[in-house]
């Protein structure tokens, strides 16, 4: 049986973050991952990649995660794609270990454990 891999789109200005998450997700063998470090290119790349889920950093110099989420909401092809926000602004104690739903998006405080992220992804996709 051929299982279709889920497509995960990763956006963070820090390449070390995106590559670390990417290699963990890829190591599961269940995900196709695209990671980009310039949020200004995010919408364009996402349209072509057609992700099942987007993981977004909140604070980025060029364009913050909120702005990227808004742009996705404005695009019919991306509007329904779930987003998981990773943020260093709020403390770990402020969010649940498995992420906190704020509005329609899930927030994780950095640093987070990969297993928690993976569980959340599995839940969403």
């Amino acid at each position: 049986m051929i299982v279709m891999k889920k497509r995960i789109f990763l956006v963070d200005d820090d390449a070390s973050i995106t590559s670390a998450i990417r290699r963990n997700l890829e190591a599961t063998g269940r995900f196709d991952v695209m990671d980009i470090n310039n949020p200004e290119l995010a919408i364009d790349k996402a349209r072509r990649f057609k992700p099942d889920l987007v993981i977004l950093d909140v604070m980025m110099p060029e364009m913050d995660g909120g702005a990227v989420a808004e742009a996705m909401a404005d695009d019919p092809r991306l509007a329904d794609v779930p987003i998981i926000f990773l943020t260093g602004i709020v403390s770990k104690e402020e969010v649940e270990p498995t992420g906190t739903l704020r509005g329609k998006h899930i927030f994780f405080a950095k640093p987070l454990e990969f297993e928690a992220l993976l569980a959340c992804i599995d839940e969403q996709v």
Binding site: S16, I17, N24, A27, P61, E62, G88
Partner: protein
């Protein structure tokens, strides 16, 4: 202790005694002067009288001379009529001798005598007589020296009875003649008449001394106006028109009178007039002389008035001088009194002020208030005569000296701070100003000092709390900066853990192979197939590619964390109370690291740090705080401006350089600039333009305090609304070997 050098002697009473003496002397001088004036006036009046008398006397002499002249002429004619020749004629005529019969012959001798008289009688070189005529009582002319001249009028006039009594000098036909009657045996027989030459009389009368201002006339007596005989056709000034009030007053003979006349030159002049009759004649001599020639130009009355005016002026001046003197003395006394009070006030101020006062002269303390001594932790007596540098903390001596010199030279007006070691070996902080003065007549240095130890402690606490505030402000950012590497290090370790388990599973197959010593070909093939299968399962190629990257990234992440922790440690360097060497560039880089999260979302920060920047002495933690405050301000200003990344990113540029004897740090941003109305207040404590919660308004105030007061440096800014702001910090350099300020 008193400011003895400024004490002023109180005025003494002798100045008032001086005024009284001046008054007495002035009065004596004035009295003496008045006496002199009266004497002078009297003598002037006497002199005038004498001059007038002299004038009258001199005129009388002239009159006498003329009288004598006329008398001489009378004598001449008397001698002539008594002559034998005339007697012979009349004797012969009495004997009955007729003219036809010899009487004629008696006449030539008479004519001869006449001619002889005319020839002999001279005045200087001129003949006195012009003509001599002997007229018979019947009117016939017996002898005439100028028979050719016909009488203009009836010559019988000369025979008038009034001329027979005595020799007479009279004016007939405007001619001056001397007339003498001749009697023979008691009977009137003839009249002898002599014409006198006018020139001779004129010469005799006027002489050589007279002038236009001193004139003399011969006139007929009892005529008004006087009929002038000599000089002819002349008029006296006194009788010229218009005339003064004296014109109708007949001058009393022989007494000089004063009058005013307007002469032909139309200049009014005062004259003196005198008329004296010539005895034995019908004439008088009149003399008129300009008054100034006799009495002088100014009358004694005028002179007296002038001198009284001068005297009054002198008296007035003296009194004015005395009044002025009294006023000046009062003023001076008041001034001295107020100065004395002022000195008292200043002394009280100095002794009781919270600010200590001291004076240094010749390098030694010569005056110091108790307050100042207290600040230094000594007694007044212990400090007098001491070198002030001895109590300054050794590390502050050189810098304090330079700051004091700067202030004395007028280059700086900012009070400076330094620490001293008290008698009990405690450290105290002093805020001081110095200025050059003259003390006891010699150059000295006046110092004002305040003990700011408590303030300094508060400042340290303040600084510490601001530092804590900054740390709090930075905490979230620093946490983010640390969380990011922790995040990916954690992810990588998670990945490597999985990878390692995969490697272990592969390794288990290899372990099984090791246990079987005799591997058949089939078994080997099977093992290889399992290995291949396992490699595919664990995606060994993927692991070979990703694991080294994960390790490298993790190591890099650890370095990032270590760098931040190091920067935090450097930033929070507690330092000490003493200055130490600051590596300005390193301090700036640490602060940039710590603040990265503050500016990285709104600006691009670049540096241009001079690699060979000299070492500066100071307080590193305080200096870092200054750089931090300015960077935070710049970052917040750029956020306000809406700074975002991208090609049009706002910028913060930090540069360092050596400029002369100073190190300059410039922090420039491309923010909105400082509004004009805020520019003069940005260094004020608690002044802020930031929104609530973003700042307490202490950042730049503390920065100024640290740079100016603690480091003896300067902090200033340039700003252009809409274009940005540049803050400059300049710190004095030190030489590495001596620690002396350059």
């Amino acid at each position: 202790m008193t400011l003895q050098g400024q004490q002023i002697p109180f005025p003494k009473g002798r100045r008032y005694a001086g005024n009284a003496i001046l008054l007495v002397i002035t009065a004596a001088v004035v009295l003496y002067f008045c006496l002199l004036l009266v004497l002078y006036y009297q003598s002037s009046e006497e002199l005038r009288e004498n001059s007038l008398e002299q004038f009258r006397y001199e005129t009388e002499k002239r009159v006498a001379s003329i009288g004598f002249f006329f008398a001489e002429q009378k004598d001449d004619l008397m001698n002539l009529v008594s002559s034998r020749e005339i007697n012979v004629f009349f004797e012969n005529r009495a004997l009955g001798m007729s003219m036809e019969y010899g009487l004629n012959l008696s006449l030539p001798p008479i004519a001869y005598r006449f001619q002889e008289l005319i020839r002999k009688k001279r005045f200087v070189s001129d003949a006195m007589y012009e003509r001599l005529v002997l007229i018979d009582k019947n009117g016939s002319i017996l002898v005439d020296t100028k028979p050719e001249n016909v009488f203009k009028k009836n010559w019988k006039l000369y025979l008038a009875p009034q001329y027979r009594n005595e020799p007479t000098i009279l004016l007939i036909d405007n001619e001056l003649v001397v007339s003498v009657a001749y009697f023979f045996k008691g009977q009137y027989e003839a009249q002898l008449v002599a014409w006198v030459k006018r020139e001779v009389i004129t010469k005799r009368l006027i002489g050589e001394t007279l002038s236009e201002k001193d004139r003399i006339w011969l006139a007929l007596k009892d005529t008004h106006p006087p009929k002038v005989i000599i000089p002819q056709q002349d008029t006296l000034p006194a009788y010229q028109q218009p005339f003064n009030a004296n014109k109708d007053v007949l001058p009393e003979s022989g007494k000089p009178i004063l009058f005013t006349a307007t002469t032909k030159d139309v200049i009014s002049r005062d004259w003196i007039h005198i008329s004296i009759p010539v005895t034995g004649t019908a004439f008088e001599i009149i003399r008129e002389v300009q008054r100034k020639l006799v009495l002088g130009r100014i009358s004694p009355a005028w002179q007296l008035m002038a001198m009284i005016s001068v005297a009054l002026l002198i008296i007035g001046s003296a009194f004015f001088n005395i009044l002025l003197n009294i006023k000046t003395q009062n003023l001076r006394r008041n001034l001295e009194e107020s100065m004395r009070r002022e000195v008292e006030v200043y002394r009280t101020l100095a002794e009781n002020s919270l600010t200590g006062v001291f004076v240094i002269q010749g390098g030694l303390v010569v005056y110091i208030t108790e307050q100042a001594a207290l600040a230094y932790g000594y007694n007044v007596d212990e400090l007098i005569g001491m070198k002030p540098g001895r109590i300054i903390s050794p590390e502050d001596r050189a810098n304090t000296r330079w700051m004091a010199i700067d202030m004395i030279k007028g280059n700086s007006k900012v009070p400076y701070e330094y620490s001293v070691i008290t008698k009990n070996n405690n450290v105290r902080w002093i805020l001081e100003t110095v200025s050059p003065i003259i003390y006891n007549g010699r150059p000295a240095i006046l110092g004002n000092c305040i003990d700011i130890t408590e303030r300094r402690k508060r400042e340290i606490l303040n600084l510490h709390s601001q530092k804590l505030e900054s740390v709090g402000q930075l905490a979230a950012g620093i946490a983010h900066e640390i969380n990011t590497p922790i995040q990916f290090i954690g992810d990588n370790i998670t990945f490597m853990k999985g990878a390692f388990q995969d490697i272990i599973s592969l390794s288990a197959i290899l372990d099984a192979v090791k246990k079987d010593d005799l591997l058949s070909h089939e078994v080997a093939k099977d093992i290889l197939a399992r290995i291949q299968e396992k490699e595919d399962e664990i995606d060994l190629d993927f692991l070979k590619k990703e694991v080294p990257q994960a390790i490298d990234q993790s190591l890099d992440g650890l370095k990032r964390v270590a760098r931040i922790v190091q920067a935090m440690r450097e930033f929070s360097h507690p330092g000490g109370e003493n200055k130490t060497d600051i590596d300005i560039n390193k301090a700036i880089e640490s602060t940039i690291t710590l603040t990265k999260n503050e500016w990285k979302y709104s600006a691009e920060l670049t540096t241009a740090l001079a690699p060979d920047l000299p070492i500066v002495q100071g307080y590193p933690a305080d200096f870092n705080q200054v750089i931090l405050n300015i960077i935070i301000n710049a970052a917040q200003a750029l956020q306000e401006k809406g700074g975002k990344g991208g090609p049009e990113k706002e910028r913060i540029e930090i540069s360092t350089r050596q400029d002369g004897k100073e190190v300059e740090i410039c922090i420039r941003d491309t923010g909105p600039g400082i509004p004009a109305e805020a520019q003069s207040r940005i260094f004020d404590p608690f002044f802020t333009t930031k929104e609530v919660g973003k700042g307490t308004g202490q950042g730049l105030s503390i920065a100024q305090n640290i740079i100016v007061k603690k480091h003896g440096g300067k902090i200033f800014f340039e700003t252009k609304p809409g274009e940005g702001t540049a803050f400059y910090i300049r710190l004095p350099m030190v030489t590495e070997t001596t620690g002396q300020r350059l």
